[in-house]
């Protein structure tokens, strides 16, 4: 196995931070073991010769679609705000961003 593909506890903590998911020690441990196992298995891709091969992002060839700038109907504000945890007038209310 390629040693560079060993995932450390600190790396899992870093990933948790990047993804904005709080994790306790037990969750971090179990995540490390499972991810290690998965990554060792997906590492077989290095066997494939991909020199001079272009990457595929989508299986259909996409072109940018242009359209006329015509005003359409919007969703009613009340319907959109219905799912917001907290609102004030026509706004979504959030907790303080700065301490």
């Amino acid at each position: 196995m390629d040693n560079s593909k060993n995932i450390s506890i600190d790396e899992i903590r870093h990933l948790a931070r990047l993804t904005r998911i709080a994790m306790n020690d037990k969750e971090v441990d179990s995540m490390r073991d499972q991810m290690q196992n998965i990554i060792e298995n997906i590492d077989i891709l290095k066997e494939v010769d991909t020199r001079e091969i272009e990457p595929t992002g989508h299986s259909v060839d996409l072109n940018s679609v242009m359209r006329e700038d015509i005003l359409g109907e919007s969703l009613p504000v009340d319907d959109v705000l219905l799912n917001a945890p907290d609102t004030q007038e026509n706004f979504i209310k959030i907790r303080p961003v700065f301490d």
Binding site: M31, N37, I42, T56, G57, P85, R95
Partner: protein, 487 residues
């Protein structure tokens, strides 16, 4: 209508009977609602049942049928997988994160269902955010396989597959990112179609992996599958990956048979981890296709063994980006724990997402992070190019390919939940077509110890007509599609 009549009913039979006034849409709907009340406590295929709304739609359908302006699916009772947005109706993704989410708009396909006055009976259970192969990752409860309630229905469209198999609706729409329509169809003995990527609009389908996700039907037989695709295929400016290509008539050539058809059978689909009895059933099916006049030849697609790895890099990478939107601010679950906005965000995601979802978000973030991007994400995209090319070459010589849908029949509940990698292997035969964007269908091809087996066909991009032709010819030459569970 009694249970036996309901079990024998297909969409196309119901269409004729509705049009000939053998029964009304309201009567048909009442029969299905009664059946849901009787058996869904055991099967658990529904997350939400929309009884009153269904009856309202059925009454409207009856009026339309009276005027002769019905289309293929008017008055037909349907379920939608609960990751397809329905305006004003709970859409949960079987996640705590969206437990109380009421979409303010309809998905493209939901709008078609609504405008056709198809009768929406409710929403189907799934693995949370469509991540899983057994429906055990549902936040609410696992769905059971109607053939054996101690076994899984497959996933992630386990609710839709079980609902069709148990005759709780006439068809359901699922989503397929790596096999999520076909694998449960195989395990529940129904027909599951993943159309060509872009053939059916994804607008309003809650995104998992956007370059792989595709909506498709789960039905009782191949004719119904073609009928539903006819109703939902087409261009939608609201989905930038939707194909602006004419929709052919999928029913025209359905009965033309497979005489002279060239069918390739990739040997790699019989090599890794396949149950010998599943292999036997599939090989028997290939003989039947030969007897029907098809030329069946073994071929090799050597890159097949890399598809699973490509998938488990690309799908989590896309998911990690798509799922950043769940922040507890605009909609969805929001924790009351923590003090600042940042605490709230991190704890909302800790409490709102299940284990598999978190695993994929972290895995995807890892594959996209600097230092690993080239080795994982970019590498996977390049191998994707090669896999696509391998299929293109195969379809320059063969009309369709045939292979098993899943390496095994339905497994026991809890059997694979402790080992994510073992669970991922269920999709080994379905993932390649998502990577290549090509259409594929699963039809029932046998019974092993009381459990259904699936036969899969794949075709080149936009060649659904050929797919239906082969699947229909096989289905009609056998009796497997007439089986239904005893429940």
């Amino acid at each position: 209508m009694n249970d036996v009549e309901l079990k024998n009913l297909t969409l196309s039979k119901a269409r004729k009977m509705l049009d000939n006034k053998k029964f009304s849409a309201v009567e048909l709907t009442e029969s299905f609602i009664k059946r849901i009340h009787t058996i869904d406590n055991d099967v658990k295929s529904f997350v939400t049942v929309t009884e009153d709304y269904a009856l309202e739609q059925a009454r409207a359908a009856d009026k339309i049928i009276e005027t002769g302006k019905q289309n293929l699916i008017t008055g037909i009772p349907v379920q939608l997988k609960d990751n397809i947005c329905t305006s004003g109706i709970l859409t949960t993704c079987s996640s705590k994160m969206l437990e109380n989410f009421i979409p303010p708009y309809d998905a493209y396909v939901s709008k078609i269902i609504k405008n056709s006055h198809s009768v929406l009976l409710g929403k189907g259970n799934l693995d949370e955010f469509a991540m899983g192969s057994s429906t055990e990752n549902s936040r609410f409860y696992p769905t059971k396989n109607p053939y054996d309630l101690t076994r899984v229905p497959g996933g992630s469209s386990g609710g839709p597959a079980a609902a069709v198999a148990a005759s709780e609706c006439l068809f359901s729409l699922g989503s397929d990112t790596g096999g999520s329509i076909r694998q449960p169809a195989s395990l529940c003995g129904v027909v599951g179609l993943k159309p060509t990527y872009g053939r059916v609009s994804r607008y309003g389908l809650i995104a998992f992996a956007s370059s792989l996700d595709q909506i498709g039907p789960l039905t009782k037989d191949v004719r119904d599958s073609a009928t539903v695709l006819q109703s939902i295929a087409g261009y939608d400016p609201y989905d930038s990956t939707s194909l602006n290509v004419e929709v052919p008539n999928y029913l025209d050539k359905l009965e033309t048979g497979v005489k002279g058809f060239k069918i390739g059978v990739p040997k790699e689909y019989f090599q890794t981890g396949i149950d010998p009895q599943v292999e036997h059933s599939v090989r028997q099916s290939l003989k039947i296709l030969e007897e029907l006049g098809a030329h069946v030849e073994e071929i090799s697609l050597p890159l097949t063994k890399y598809a699973l790895s490509v998938y488990y890099i690309l799908a989590p990478s896309e998911a990690s980006a798509n799922l950043t939107r769940y922040d507890g601010i605009k909609y969805g679950y929001s924790t009351t724990n923590g003090i600042s906005m940042w605490d709230g965000l991190e704890m909302t995601r800790q409490e709102g997402f299940g284990e598999e979802v978190k695993r994929r978000i972290l895995l995807g973030t890892y594959a996209l992070s600097s230092g690993y991007y080239d080795a994982f994400y970019l590498k996977a995209q390049k191998v994707r190019t090669l896999i696509r090319k391998e299929f293109e070459d195969a379809f320059s010589k063969y009309d369709v390919l045939a292979m098993p849908t899943s390496p095994s029949t339905a497994f026991k509940l809890g059997e694979k939940t402790d080992n994510p990698l073992q669970m991922y292997l269920n999709d080994i035969f379905t993932i390649p077509s998502n990577i290549a964007g090509i259409p594929a269908i699963s039809v029932q091809a046998g019974m092993i110890e009381g459990l259904p087996v699936g036969l899969q066909f794949m075709a080149g991009a936009l060649q659904e007509v050929k797919l239906f032709q082969a699947a229909y010819a096989y289905e009609q030459a056998t009796d497997w599609h007439k089986f239904s569970p005893s429940i």
